[in-house]
Amino acid sequence: MIIAVLIKHVPDTASVLTISDDGKSLTLNGIKFVMNPYDEFAVEEAILLRERLGGEVVAVCAGPPESKETIRTALAMGVNSGVLISGTEQLAGRGLSMALAAGLATLSPDVIFAGKQAVDSDGSQISERVAELMGIPHASCITRFELKDGKAEVIREVEGGHYHLSFELPALFTTQKGINTPRYPTLPNIMKAKRATIKELSLSDLQIEPALLESELLVERLAPARRERRRQLIAGEPLAQVQKLYRSLQEEDKVL
């Protein structure tokens, strides 16, 4: 069984971001990058599946050369091999998913796991798009995965309830918190990961014309989301405090 995982190399969520002078991009120099936190659940689920049924786990990442660090993190967690799809730095949404789908197709995976969302783009679309482009069924945000009689049975959370679904393979699933607890890399695996060769695929290896992937969604302006808050501390005795709070919320803000 071939299990693929999609992982993205993203700025650590605690980083302080600065907007570049052009007002359309971010200055990312000196910022610490990590594996997208949601993708850790995907890597863990892929390894758990291999531990139960055998097979091979391949981590796939599209991005700049530095993304190899994130692939090495996945190797250190225990995936068997990694593939970097290069020349994709400028891609997003439609184009990025086309490159990833083409890269994945070379692996003929039986199951693909991905994260529910990349914490840089907050895109919430790449994995679902990849499944659609590959012509395979998928479910987002699963919290349980099982293989039963050659079919995948999953629990998928929605607002106000959950679905128990069954899928023919191959299929793709995006994972979220609750499905498992991602393991830490082990020392021997970290050493092995350092020496591993990571396969690279360029867009021309994948026979894709880069012009076809160009984004049709343009960023016009970035701004820090620093909506000023009033930061009004309410002093006094507890009863007086809540009375004052109630009056403000009702009379000034009209939210009660």
Partner: protein, 321 residues
Amino acid sequence: MSILVILEQRGNLKICGLEAASASRKVAEASGMTLNALYLGRAFDENPSVLAGLGISTLYAYENEDLHYYSNERYVHILCELARELEAKVIVCPATAVGKELCASAAARLQIELAQDCVALDWNETLKAVKPIYAGKVISDVSFSKLPGLVSLRPNTAAIERRGEDLPAIVRRDMPLIPARSTILEVAEAMSGYVDLTEAKIIVAGGRGIGGPENWPVLQDLCEALGAALGASRAAVDAGWIDASHQVGQTGKVVCPDLYIACGISGAIQHLAGMRTAKIIVAINRDPEAPIFQFCDYGIVGDLLEIVPKLAGEIRNRRTN
């Protein structure tokens, strides 16, 4: 040329679909396009007045028992076929869990761009949207250089606006035959009266500062007094005090209520990621140095176990008087 808005149902029409319709109407007016709507479900048997004055010209209702519950394969097929038939230039859907999945799949099938979880829409020669990125730390103004374009709109970010009493024409259709490789084995629905966090107008949230699961009733009582939904920080979820479905933040839910009351929550960046677009934020925390006080509209420094019951009492008093 038209705009297509998806009206989500969970038995009844969801409020966020009506919000999406109101936001879409503004785009329709600015672009001179007509606004149509899509409904997928068992049967559209609501009082049509729920759609009055929203500016929807035709509602396409696909009615079949097998459409009652969301099925990615069926919903995507119907949405894409209808979008092509109507030559939709703009497609708008509420950014709910299923709405976002539907949009992502449909965008791939239609080979178009998608901006998920937007907080505003506009039209100026083309479709524009405002989209939070980096867990809401940065706001991105985006513009579609090619149409059709797809956007999902975060619940609670647009007001429902009605003008006049006009009702849409209703075109009823059955479900076309759609081959599927997935099946629904079971659906577990929450109890009736349940308010989802992402759609709640008021949220009371508790963190590690509540001290232990035995103190949830203190917060639940305030929820009851306010008609609010209960949220939690990751620390409270990780401690096993409450189910992960209540978690607000980067790994939890992104919420946008009118009022967010954070009790015993320090205000970590990953928590702010989930609630920073709330209209009014109140913080109750006994540490005057807690970061949440830098990010609230009103703050009370004090023990939540003392303040919260008093607040619930005050609300009940005022409401009965």
